[in-house]
């Protein structure tokens, strides 16, 4: 059933990418992405294996992997790939598909939640409201994990930031939030297709 939901996904096409799909078939599995990745050690599936799963059309495994949420997006893999496969782009595409299908790895909840809340924040404000972001993120994690100490983690930083005039209680918002709303709308519509 899951495969049906994935629609026209084949080993050559990643589920989501704009404007063109990434040609994962070009990858010859040399592993240079894994070799240079600053966080590969923390991944359940190494970057070259993530691309391999995409080659095989093993979307279930790829989309549920923790690795795609460990990726920090530093572009080292894409930069050094001898076959010019945009490995970082593959990670992006898999994250997008993983979230859209509700398959994001529970073990990487913090990352997933943060990115979601970040996007909601700019959706609402046009520009990032840091305090609101932190607040929402902490509450969300608290509600989800029940870890009360997390609420106060880094709380010590707040006065430090305040002292350094780095906290803005009334941050600037984009003036034309209507256009932001419409951009989000137009970019989300097609994604569901």
């Amino acid at each position: 059933m899951e495969n049906q939901a994935l629609g026209q996904v084949t080993s050559e096409r990643l589920p989501v990418h704009f404007p063109d799909p990434i040609q994962v078939a070009n990858c010859y599995q040399c592993g240079k992405c894994t070799a240079g990745c600053p966080v590969a050690m923390h991944m359940d599936v190494a970057p070259n294996q993530v691309v391999r799963l995409a080659q095989l059309g093993e979307w279930e495994k790829a989309l549920r992997s923790r690795a795609i949420w460990e990726c920090v997006g530093c572009q080292t893999c894409s930069t050094r790939c001898p076959k010019e496969v945009d490995c970082a782009g593959v990670m992006d595409a898999l994250r997008e598909a993983s979230l859209a299908r509700g398959m994001a790895a529970p073990g990487r909840y913090f990352v997933v939640a943060f990115q979601k809340i970040f996007l909601e924040n700019i959706h609402r404000n046009g520009r990032l409201n840091e305090l609101e972001l932190i607040g929402h993120f902490k509450v969300d994690v608290l509600l989800h994990t029940g870890r009360i100490p997390f609420l106060f983690k880094d709380a010590g930083l707040a006065p430090q930031l305040g002292k350094r005039k780095k906290l803005h209680l009334i941050p600037g918002r984009a003036r034309d939030r209507g256009v932001v709303e419409r951009i989000f709308e137009r970019c989300s519509g097609e994604r569901k297709a």
Binding site: Y28, Q29, C30, G31, K32, C33, T34, A35, G36, C37, A40, M41, V45, A46, N48, Q49, T76, R80, C81, P82, K83, E84
Partner: protein
């Protein structure tokens, strides 16, 4: 021609299954100019050929059309048969009703109709055929070999041993090429110099080999059998005929710290030097960019020391001309540069491996020198930075090869093997050392090759990791190599004392210019093009020019040697007689009507057309004209299509014949 015989072949069932051969033969008999029309089960068989011969004689045929297979298959067969019966062989035409008809159709009625049309065209062509005579070209029975590496040496010795004179041109001061600098060779680990230097000496002493070392091909003129080669002998500043090779000059030369080309910068040499002790010729050369006498009229110690008075600071480049009948190109390869600046913008280089930044990151040929008994360290493996013996060495395959982004997409073919060899040589020299190899695939096809790689892993303990390296840095005197093990699915970090990059093989510098001079083709990477990848692997598209060794594609020594012998045997066939016979189906220019616009000269891909003057028998100038050189023309017909005055035509395939064929269809 009005007495044409048409012979339709069944080709067993191949044609007869789809084409009604009786019907075809019957209809063909009605065509104008056809004297007789027969069909037979196997026209190419002896009885089939006998029918053709008999009919030529009894029916007094003046033209023959064989309707059967492709002319590539049997045109020669039937031309011979016709000749045996006394008919000019160029009056034989073939109508291909197999590949172009019976094999590609199912409908018998339509196929039969098409077969008839194909034959009708050939009959029209035959009606307009002219008797031609094969072209005879005189042959200079000498050969030129360009490049004195192992391939060039092999080709030169084969040709010379067969009794022909050979001119060898080598760019470097000594012959020997890359192989002379190698330590030991896979898969037998025999010493490279021990097997090569006797061959080098043979070249140097062979009565039929004329060696131009430190020389380059300047100009190539002429055509197959008749090439005129201009050779630039670069100023050596040493009179080779006087010099005894005693060595006093390079011993006394005070400028001893010049990076040795032969050692790829791993060792030093004086300003006057021989590249290595076994050099052929064993005569020194002065590096004019380093010599104090040549730069600022200082020093001059070597001149004073030389008892043979062989030093000549006034030496200049000299041009000499040699006549040869055939050419073997064996210019070899170079390695992909691991320096920061790259020769081509498309080659981006490996900044992540430290470019030329870390002294202990070297390429494979440099490693060869470091483990060679004749090398700068006397065969003791010392790393370049501090002379320490490396206890951990990382070898990286496919540096530049199979890398679309920074290098070249092709596989360099020999790196898997020599890297396995390197790990063994290393282990044999440093018993407590550990060799690590990063590879993508192990390509070890060849006699004893895979066994060799397994030996490196199983007996000599090389640790192989299937993955590429992403980054090399230096920390606390160690090179930190960050690679991947894709089999284990994890990154791997190794601290190394020395890193050896198996850099891609690329054609030697200047290959494109040389190819232009010789009028032969290069592929997109600069490797020379063979005429046919399977059936004409050592020929080029220019008659009389052959290729051997790594100038054609990455190759190991056995392959380069085999190809050199193959090229040599082709040369021997060509030089076996005083004359060459060529097919007469080439262009001819009507010199009376030629407008002397010379468009044909500019478009001819074989440079086979020259300017000429038409004169009266007494020598008075009439007009300019273009004239085809029958030795060079390959009969492609380009000149025919571009000639505005319709003065060019292709013998055996004239415009008149083509028009007649087209009109017969109307």
């Amino acid at each position: 021609m009005s007495r044409i015989g048409v012979f339709t072949c069944w080709c067993g069932e191949n044609i007869a299954r789809t084409v009604d051969v009786d019907e075809v033969a019957k209809r063909v008999a009605e065509l104008p100019g056809v004297r007789c029309s027969l069909n037979y089960k196997y026209m190419c068989s002896d009885p089939g050929q006998a029918i053709v011969r008999e009919k030529i004689a009894t029916e007094k045929l003046d033209g023959v059309v064989v309707a059967s297979c492709s002319p590539h298959m049997h045109l020669k067969t039937f031309r011979k048969a016709a000749q045996a019966a006394g008919l000019n062989p160029y009056l034989v035409e073939m109508a291909n009703i197999r590949e172009q008809c019976s094999w590609v159709h199912h409908d018998r009625v339509q196929a039969t109709a098409k077969a008839f049309e194909i034959i009708r065209l050939s009959v029209e062509k035959a009606r307009n055929d002219a008797a031609l005579q094969p072209i005879r070209v005189p042959v200079t029975r000498r050969a030129l070999v360009i490049g004195g590496g192992v391939a060039g040496i092999q080709a030169a010795l084969d040709i010379a041993d067969a009794g022909h004179e050979v001119v060898m041109v080598e760019r470097e001061p000594s012959i020997g090429g890359k192989m002379a600098g190698l330590s030991e060779t896979f898969p037998t680990l025999d010493c490279s110099q021990c097997i090569l230097t006797p061959r080098m000496v043979e070249v140097g002493q062979h009565p039929r080999i004329k060696l131009y070392s430190y020389s380059e091909v300047e100009k190539v003129e002429g055509f197959v059998g008749n090439f005129r080669i201009t050779i630039r002998q670069k100023a050596r500043y040493v009179d080779v005929s006087k010099c005894t090779g005693c060595g006093e000059c390079w011993i006394i030369c005070p400028l001893k710290r010049n990076p040795s080309e032969f050692d790829y910068g791993m060792g030093m040499r004086p300003a006057i030097y021989i590249p290595f002790p076994q050099a052929v010729p064993a005569r020194p050369v002065i590096d004019k960019s380093q010599c104090a006498k040549l730069i600022r009229n200082g020093c001059g110690l070597c001149e004073k020391k030389c008892k043979a008075e062989a030093i000549n600071f006034k030496d200049e480049d000299r041009l000499v001309e040699e006549a040869v009948g055939a050419v073997v190109v064996a210019t070899g390869y170079k390695l992909y540069s691991i320096a920061k600046s790259q020769p081509k913008a498309t080659l981006a280089g490996y900044g992540e491996y430290g470019y030329g930044k870390y002294k202990d990151v070297i390429d494979s040929l440099q490693f060869e020198r470091l483990v060679s008994a004749s090398g700068p360290t006397g065969g003791v493996l010392k790393r370049p930075s501090d002379g320490a013996i490396p206890k951990s060495v990382v070898f990286i395959s496919c540096v530049g090869s199979r890398d679309n982004a920074k290098g070249l997409p092709y596989c360099s073919k020999i790196c898997c093997m020599y890297t396995a060899k390197h790990t063994m040589l290393y282990k044999h020299k440093v018993h407590d050392g550990q060799a690590h190899v990063f590879y993508m695939d192990i390509r070890a096809g060849g006699k004893g090759y895979d066994e060799f790689v397994r030996r490196a892993i199983e007996q000599d303990g090389a640790q192989y990791y299937r993955g590429r390296v992403s980054k090399i840095t230096q920390e606390g005197g160690k090179l930190v190599v960050r690679g991947a093990d894709t089999l284990a699915g994890m990154p791997v970090t190794i601290e190394a004392d020395l890193v050896v990059l198996a850099a891609a093989m690329r054609p030697a510098d200047g290959i494109e210019e040389l190819a232009q001079k010789l009028n032969i083709g290069c592929d997109e990477f600069g490797f020379l093009l063979e005429s046919h990848p399977k059936l004409r692997p050592v020929e080029t598209n220019t008659a009389g020019i052959f290729i051997a060794g790594a100038c054609h594609s990455p190759k190991d020594i056995p392959e380069a040697v085999a190809q050199a012998s193959a090229a040599a045997s082709k040369v021997q066939v060509m030089l076996a007689a005083d004359e060459l016979t060529r097919e007469p189906e080439i262009a001819a220019i009507n010199e009376q009507t030629c407008a002397a616009c010379f468009t044909c000269i500019r478009t001819c891909p074989y440079h086979a057309i020259d300017r000429a003057e038409l004169r009266t028998p007494r020598g008075a100038f009439i007009k300019n004209t273009a004239r085809v050189n029958p030795g060079l023309c390959m009969g492609c017909g380009t000149c025919v299509s571009v000639c505005p005055s319709k003065s060019a035509d292709l013998q055996g395939f004239t415009d008149q014949q083509v028009y007649a064929m087209v009109e017969s269809l109307a």
